[in-house]
């Protein structure tokens, strides 16, 4: 599963904080493109498979200061 966060809206620091918070639930790979910060999720915990993407995006938003 891959998430693409627009650099104009989402801050790298907030994404890193979210990865830190969610690291127990999946393996994360962070990479940057010109316009996007890309987060790849692998080995997702089966219990949260359906909601992790949405919850992760909300968490990132909540971490933006």
């Amino acid at each position: 599963m891959t998430l693409k966060f627009d650099k104009k809206i989402y801050k790298l620091k907030a994404i890193k904080l979210a990865i830190q918070a969610y690291q127990e639930l999946a393996d994360f790979n962070l990479s940057q493109e010109k316009k996007y910060i890309q987060v790849e999720l692998k080995n997702i915990d089966q219990d949260v498979k359906d909601i992790i993407k949405d919850e992760f995006c909300n968490y990132v938003l909540s971490q933006i200061r």
């Binding site: 627009d6 104009k8 809206i9 989402y10 919850e55 909300n58 938003l61 909540s62 933006i64």
Partner: protein
């Protein structure tokens, strides 16, 4: 114009009308009731994806959009007011701090004629019976 699909409503607005900080503020308010995702194509417009945490019908999704836009407006006004009132706020705080310093100086001056608590000038330590007599 908004689009509704898979319990999600998608709409966009111009960033010239609302500051990005206001978008964050409004998004934060909705984190409890919806999943949010923001996208910007050209840096001028922001696309909002609002997905209900519970199953929502088309009307409820439209309602959610309206509430989000209201909150966005609310947040924008608060930010603009805070910016406009910044100078007067700083002035009021500086005056408050200055007057507090002034009071400290006055109290330092009055320390010379310090009244000790044993003197009890207000008669607080006098028992009720002594002061007003027994009933």
């Amino acid at each position: 114009m908004s689009k509704r699909k898979d319990n999600t409503i998608r709409f966009s607005f111009n960033l010239r009308d609302y500051p990005l900080e206001a978008v964050y503020g409004a998004a934060y308010v909705f984190i409890d009731q919806a999943y949010l995702f923001l996208e910007s194509n050209d840096g001028k417009k922001i696309k909002v994806f609002l997905k209900g945490k519970k199953k929502l019908n088309s009307n409820k999704l439209k309602e959610l959009e309206g509430e989000f836009l209201n909150e966005l407006l609310n947040s924008t006004v608060r930010i603009k007011l805070a910016k406009n009132n910044k100078k007067i706020r700083e002035y009021v705080i500086s005056q408050a701090l200055l007057s507090a310093i002034g009071e400290e100086e006055v109290s330092q001056d009055s320390d010379k004629e310090e009244i000790k608590y044993e003197d009890d000038p207000l008669g607080i330590a006098v028992p009720w019976e002594e002061k007003y007599g027994k009933k």
